[in-house]
Symmetry: C2
Subunit: 166 residues, 2 copies
């Protein structure tokens, strides 16, 4: 089974989310084994919290969750775990929200192109090389050499657009 371009985008409202979480944790674990990274209990716990929904979660909300799960935690606890998870592609930071969202494709090098629904607040990830290439090309025309792209798009997802029955 090949994942479509919208693999990480806006799962159906009724989907079995425990599967999303389990898959993401498994995938991260495998990636860590393969790359000699330490997928410590804390990092796993933070990743699980981030994956608790398909919407971005703030660092301090993660902190609260950790404490709920009776783990000693302070801001650096969270930010350090997030740094690891972001560095290795398990989590993306949504800059325009100062919040974090899970990514289930740690292996593929990709710029995250994020679709942020203003209605349900879920975030889908488009991973479209054409967009990345066009931007790099256009930047090049003014002599700019691109190393990283931040793309965050606001709008309304298909789930929410279909709900106009008021």
């Amino acid at each position: 089974m090949t994942k479509s371009i919208s693999a990480n985008a806006f799962p159906a409202h009724e989907h079995d989310h425990t599967v999303c979480i389990a898959d993401a944790l498994d995938s991260a674990e495998q990636h860590c084994v393969a790359h000699q990274l330490r997928f410590t209990p804390l990092r796993r716990q933070v990743l699980e919290i981030v994956w608790s929904r398909h919407a971005p979660i703030g660092a301090y909300e993660i902190l609260d969750e950790l404490r709920n799960e009776s783990r000693a935690a302070a801001p650096p606890t969270v930010y350090r775990a997030l740094e690891f998870l972001v560095d290795h592609g398990f989590v993306h930071k949504i800059e325009s929200l100062n919040a974090f969202v899970g990514c289930d494709r740690p292996d593929s090098e990709h710029v995250g192109q994020f679709l942020i629904c203003g209605s349900c607040h879920q975030v889908g990830e488009l991973d479209d090389p054409e967009i990345a290439k066009l931007i790099a090309k256009k930047a090049k025309t003014v002599g700019f050499d691109v190393s990283h792209q931040t793309i965050e798009v606001r709008g309304v997802c298909s789930n929410c657009a279909g709900e106009n029955h008021a």
Copy 2:
């Protein structure tokens, strides 16, 4: 004289920046007159500070400048002026830097596509409708209806790339 697509991108190091500032203030003033907006002394002062360079400036740095210019100022003073300036397109917020940069094209509706140089920290603005259209189109393929785009690209500008003489 027609402005090129890179009008706002990476002016030459030796350019007459007082002209940039004067033009930006004039342009903003004209836009405000035309649209019945109040270009108050505070808003003008903040815009001038933002335009002091072609690199993003943080709100608290603006605050310091205001106080240097012996104006009573507190965070809301700055954030409210910035809100006005951003709302009307005189300034853009760079989300990935929590900082603000001037825009000299308040009239044209545009998504800002920002090129952020990691070397000189200047920011150029690409205003390319093709990029915006491609993103909107790709988002549409997953049923997402785009209302706003945040595009911030890291890399090295042409000025800095040319300076490799170490």
